[in-house]
Symmetry: C2
Subunit: 565 residues, 2 copies
């Protein structure tokens, strides 16, 4: 494995040996290590001194179920702090097969213009891409696949990233050539845009599979992991309903974001539930698929293809977070409308959580009526125009709140909350507040913990454990749902790592990796100017009761501040 370092000003590549202290990390943990080691913490996130880093996880590269994920990170233009966002798709597999421990993009071009960065075993090439400028990802991806070959992996940005909007992500082509596996959060698409790169093509052709130190041990561990994963009841639930299975559960807890986080239950929740979606898609047939894998080899296949009444695909996939933020959060109870909104934001290359939250703030500001799906679609299309309103929406909820003087803005560190209201799922509120990433359920969702989610007691510990596990999975390159298998057979993590690398790590490696990662991230944020004041939910959530439980967020600040002590 090597570090591939690309200077986007000089358009040069150097391939360097992996420093010793980077070897035992991958994915999110490696990003944090690299950022602490070499990224100026006070730099302008869209300036020449920020770096955009791509890293496959420690287990990525072997089509191990749900374990081929890609982490992308750098200093976030949305939060101003450390940022890692991971995604499925093909990119992780291609990077690992190309022998890339990490790809580090540095500097930025001295002239305007757009480029495709092409990477294969021969090295790097910059191809002019001005013809792709302004294209949505659904138009750009087929052109890129036609130009560079159907089997390549592609990471690309849409108009949102080109406009350097802080709601912009980076989209990865999946095994079915759809560019909808998105490193969504924190504005990393804007960072790629600031470096003049419309797309990166990874072509692993001609490369050998990544090495495994002890193949029989690997196979044994893989078998044990697969068995544990397949035996877990949630595996079937996610195959059937996808993440949309969360809709009814979150609604039942009184924690589904409703009309811009003003209510925790949505009267239309059943209509936008996973159950309703499955029924609708089975009935429609055509392009619709109720279960679908985002990466080769995945046995869970939580994804889906959402087809219209005419049998044509509207978008793939529709996930719970989008249902929560662009559905109930906007008072919208139509899955078709949610799917169309989802397509629009995907095509623009934007984070549906951030944009859904921004639309909720827009509704509070009187720019949109709750429940008005066509109005929401019109506002999303406004983003494409580049108007001030469109840009503000594309920059996310925090900017919309500042622009319109709206107080009830659901953000932490400037990043929008996911679809779990923290007043009713307080452990997740602790995660939102204290994770170095800004509000993000994937940093430690606690909804499955068997506790009273309304009780502030003990939530810090639950969040801490969830945060360490998630940071560990993100370092392995494992999907959160791989956790169903790993939780049932935790020794397989140790066995897989030892088999692959010839290491001798302990059974506690997941938590060790997780803690190390979070400590590095906190160190980066500290140097970037973050303090305990940043580890807070929005002030209004501590005084405004959330129906139906009329809960406020009341985990004591001293407990939040002590979470890592």
């Amino acid at each position: 494995m090597q570090i591939w370092r690309v200077n986007t000003r000089e358009q040069t590549l150097t391939r360097e040996p992996v420093p010793e202290s980077w070897k035992q990390l991958g994915g999110r943990g490696l990003l944090a290590r690299i950022m602490v080691d070499e990224l100026p913490p006070a730099c302008d996130p869209l300036g020449p001194n920020n770096k955009l880093i791509f890293a496959p996880g420690l287990l990525t590269g072997h089509r191990l179920s749900s374990c081929d994920r890609l982490s992308v990170g750098g200093k976030s233009p949305l939060t101003g702090g450390v940022k890692e966002s991971n995604a499925g798709g093909r990119t992780g597999l291609h990077m690992a097969t190309l022998g890339m421990k990490a790809l580090i993009l540095e500097e930025r071009p001295s002239q305007p213009g757009w480029w495709v960065l092409h990477l294969n075993k021969e090295g790097a090439r910059f191809d002019p891409a001005d013809d792709l400028a302004g294209l949505g990802v659904y138009a750009a991806a087929p052109k890129l696949l036609a130009r560079y070959g159907d089997k390549c992996a592609i990471s690309l940005i849409g108009p949102g990233g080109e406009m350097k909007l802080t709601g912009a992500g980076i989209q990865n082509v999946d095994k079915d050539k759809t560019p909808s596996r998105i490193n969504a959060r924190g504005g990393l698409g804007a960072v790629l845009g600031s470096k003049g790169i419309k797309a990166i093509v990874f072509d692993m052709s001609g490369c050998d599979k990544p090495a495994i130190a002890d193949p029989p041990a690997w196979q044994a561990a893989q078998k044990a992991y697969n068995k544990a994963l397949m035996g877990h009841p949630q595996t079937q639930s996610y195959a059937d309903y996808g993440t949309a299975a969360m809709t009814r559960m979150t609604n039942a807890f009184g924690a589904i974001p409703t009309r811009s986080f003003s209510d925790g239950q949505f009267e239309g929740a059943d209509k936008i539930s996973g159950e309703a979606m499955r029924e609708l898609l089975l009935q429609r047939g055509g392009a619709s698929e109720t279960t679908h894998a985002c990466m080769a080899g995945c046995t869970i296949r939580c994804s889906n293809v959402f087809g219209g009444a005419d049998g044509e695909e509207i978008v793939s996939p529709v996930e719970y977070e989008t249902i929560g933020l662009m559905g109930s959060n906007l008072g919208i109870d139509s899955l078709d409308t949610i799917a169309r909104l989802n397509w629009e934001v995907n095509d623009l290359g934007l984070d549906s959580i951030e944009i859904g939250a921004a639309l909720g703030v827009a509704a509070q500001a009187g720019l949109l009526a709750f429940g008005d799906g066509e109005g929401a679609l019109e506002l999303v299309r406004e983003i494409r125009s580049g108007s001030a309103l469109g840009r503000a929406l594309g920059n996310g909820a925090a900017m919309m709140g500042k622009l319109y003087g709206v107080e009830r803005v659901p953000v932490v560190k400037g990043q929008a909350l996911s679809a779990y209201d923290p007043r009713a799922i307080k452990g997740t509120g602790v995660t939102y507040a204290t994770t170095p990433q800004g509000a993000d359920h994937t940093c430690g969702l606690t909804i499955r913990a068997k506790v009273d989610h309304l009780d502030p007691q003990g939530q810090v510990e639950i969040s801490r454990n969830a945060q360490m596990s998630m940071a560990g999975y993100d370092t392995l390159g494992a999907c959160v749902f791989a956790g169903f298998g790993f939780a049932a057979a935790p020794e397989t993590i140790r066995d897989l790592l030892n088999a692959k690398y010839g290491w001798n790590v302990s059974g506690n490696i997941l938590q060790e990796l997780g803690r190390e990662t979070i400590m590095l991230e906190r160190e980066f944020n500290r140097r970037a100017g973050f303090t305990a004041v940043d580890d807070r939910l929005p002030e209004w959530m501590t005084r405004e009761p959330l129906p139906p439980h009329n809960a406020v967020f009341d985990v004591p600040e001293a407990e939040l501040d002590g979470i890592w002590e």
Copy 2:
């Protein structure tokens, strides 16, 4: 003296004795003390927990030349930190005569609506003011004076404050009934707007003059001070040219903001100089006045009335900062255009520095051609419409930069730089970077120091001394130009304070007050989450050379961090 505390939710007033530790402070220093003592540092600046505090200076209330100023402060919605902004006009005199050591506005109404807060010796009254909503200050002030009496003092907001724009200030009626003495910086108008108050009326009628402990000693000190002030050569220069005298000087130093801080010399500088303005106004006559006092008793009279060719007043006054930010910074070389821009932002109740800087960013984003005065006027009028673009402009340069992905944004702590490019006047750059207030020349302008302004050596000490003096003057309620007199006869500060209060302070009191004030402000900012990372100029100013000297800002960060050690 008493503390007047108004609850804007309950519409109640309590008058409290002054706590012992507040007695020796006034103006800016008292604001800082109150903020540290009782303002939750992490609060939402536009939420119910922020407080808006008005405090006259220690010397305010006696028509002492240039010493009747008013400080207003609270947590800034622009910077997120401590904020003090001071102004002339009548308000300081009325407050002191009413016996108000400070007025503290707390909470906010539970219902929308606008109010006039009327304060006189009887107490407080809230009068409905929905009929004034949306009115510019030039339309609202005459109605208020008609309603409450010509001799009242009035502090009011324009549409900018009503919209809670972070570029909004608070305007005070001057001795000629013009509402253009503005507590301009840091968005305090938005804080007043968040509390539902369109205007505060101060009526000192029936009150005795503020007490003086030793009248003969006061008269002697006043005489010595006046003599020193009148004898200073700058006093005549400011009477003749006003602050616009700085135009040629700053241009000569290569430090005048030109085309959004991309150049330090402006080819049209002579056309917008103080000399040109004086000649124009003398020639025009009519309403024009080349010298004008903003407060009763001022002997400097640096202000002016800018009349048009038709003899009618366009605006009063035109100050250097406006010439720099709305003239050269926009490539505009017409004083008439600058005066019209100035009227528009005044009427909206906005800070001309912040809006000028925002327009410069707009020009970088392609929304305006440099030199296009009509285009600039059109953009400023857009603010009144409440559109997204208008609101963004009204929120200032930092938001415009984020919205349009512009890197070259001239702000520190989110607040726009004044009209001295810090690459060419490096001591002022140290002030911009390290003052707790955000970039602001009034916190320590160094242009008159007899040093090489391009040399980074020694600038920290120059800035430190300037910052302490300025914080001291702001605590006294003294205009920066009072400093001409006080610098020549520093013992008069001691003598005036001892005569007024029966104190026994030392000759070093100005610096003592200044240092104490700054330490309190830094403490508030520390608790609000500020770190050394916030004490920096924009990163691009450290690498982008400024013509004609091709200077970058290169005062070492370690020196900035050590300024108060």
